[in-house]
Symmetry: C2
Subunit: 201 residues, 2 copies
C-alpha cells in the first residue's frame, strides 16, 4: 500500500517543528548542496526525554554517526535509526548557533538569525522550553578534529540533492532548521527540504 | 587573610554533592593516579541552567579544555574558569557511565555502580531530577579520536597527586564522582579528593 509523502520546504535561515510517529521515516535533503540542518527531538509523550549527543556518541563509539547508527535519548532509549546516509559527515559535538554564538565567537552583537532561536520558535508551540534544547545533531555539518583537539569547521561535503534518512523509534516532536551560521554553510545560506514517509505504528 | 580549606574524600565508585559560591575555587585531585572524576554543575539559583558540553567546546574551539578555558552553561554564561590543570587531558564528549552504559556497551546486566546513579543520589537532595543530568565534564578521562571519528578510551594520564583547579563563576550546585567504569580507570577503582578554597563573593 502506498502512502502519501509529506514534504516541507525550510526557507534559508529558518526552521520547522512537527510530530513524527514511531516507524515513520524522515528524509532531510540538502537541495542545493553545502547546507547544514540542525535536528532536535523530544519524546512526544514525555518532554523530559530528549536527544542526547553524549549517549549517542558513547554507544556508537564514534563522533561520526552514519548509516546503521542509533541516536539515543538522555534515558538511553533509541529515538532514531539512520537508515541511509548519502553524505557521511555530520556533527554531534556543537550546540546550535545562537545569538551568543555570534557574540562570543564572532564578536557580532547585531541581530542575527540562529538555529537556536529558530528551534525555540518552532518548538515552543509543543510546550518545549528554550533551556531544554541541548546539543543538536547537526546534519551535513563538517567538523574536523586535529590531534591537538582543535576544531575546524569546513564547508559541508553534501552535494545538491543528497540526503540522510532517519526512522523514528518512538513518537517524537522534532525540530529541523536550515542553519544560519556563515562558517558552517560555506558563507551561503540555502534552504533545506524534508520528506516524511509512512504512517507510523 | 587565610581561609579554611574544605576537604572531601570521595570513596571509590561513589560521589558527592555540594554548593560552591561564586569566586570559590574547586580543586579536584587524583590521589593515586589514573582515576576519572565526573563533574556536573547547576546554577544554584535556577536549576534550569546547567553545564553545557556543546557550548563549552564550541566557544573554546577544542575538545580538550585546559588552563584558561571557560566551562559554559546552556545559556552561554560562564560557570567555571579552569585556573590550573596539571594533567591536560579531560573528556567532554561522553555522558556519565550509567546502568545502560554497562548493558549497551559491555552486555553487563548485573547491578554495577555508575557515575550517573552516584550523581543522581547526590544531586537529588538539591532538587535536581535525573533527566536534567547531561554530558559531564569527565576530569582526567583520556578519550582519543581517530581520523575516522572512532573513539578510544585509554588509561588516564594523571599521576598520583595531580589536580585540576576550577573557579566558580556563579553560585553553583556541584556533583563530583570517583568514576565506576572499568575501561576509564585502567581497571582499578580509586578514590578522588576535592578541596574548596575561598569564601566566595
Amino acid at each position: 500500500m502506498e502512502h502519501a509523502i509529506e514534504c516541507r520546504h525550510i526557507e534559508r535561515q529558518s526552521g520547522t517543528g512537527f510530530r513524527l510517529k514511531r516507524g515513520q521515516i524522515l528524509r532531510v535533503i540538502d537541495p542545493m548542496g553545502e547546507q547544514v540542518a540542525d535536528l532536535m527531538a523530544f519524546n512526544a509523550h514525555d518532554l523530559d526525554e530528549v536527544l542526547s549527543s553524549g549517549r549517542s556518541i558513547d554507544y556508537a563509539n564514534t563522533i561520526y554517526l552514519t548509516t546503521g547508527h542509533v541516536l539515543y535519548s538522555n534515558r538511553s532509549t533509541p529515538m532514531f535509526t539512520i537508515l541511509e546516509d548519502q553524505v557521511g559527515r555530520h556533527d554531534f559535538l556543537l550546540t546550535p548557533c545562537s545569538p551568543e554564538t555570534f557574540q562570543i565567537i564572532y564578536g557580532n552583537y547585531a541581530p542575527h538569525p540562529s538555529c537556536f532561536m529558530n528551534l525555540v520558535e518552532n518548538l515552543t508551540p509543543f510546550g518545549i522550553a528554550p533551556d531544554r534544547i541541548p546539543t543538536t545533531f547537526n546534519i551535513f555539518m563538517n567538523v574536523r578534529i586535529a590531534e591537538s583537539g582543535e576544531l575546524t569547521i569546513g564547508p559541508p561535503i553534501s552535494k545538491a540533492g543528497q540526503y540522510i534518512e532517519l526512522q523514528a523509534e518512538m513518537d517524537l516532536i522534532v525540530g529541523v532548521t536550515a542553519c544560519s551560521a556563515e562558517l558552517s554553510n560555506n558563507h551561503s545560506f540555502k534552504p533545506i527540504d524534508i520528506e516524511i514517509r509512512g504512517q507510523g505504528a
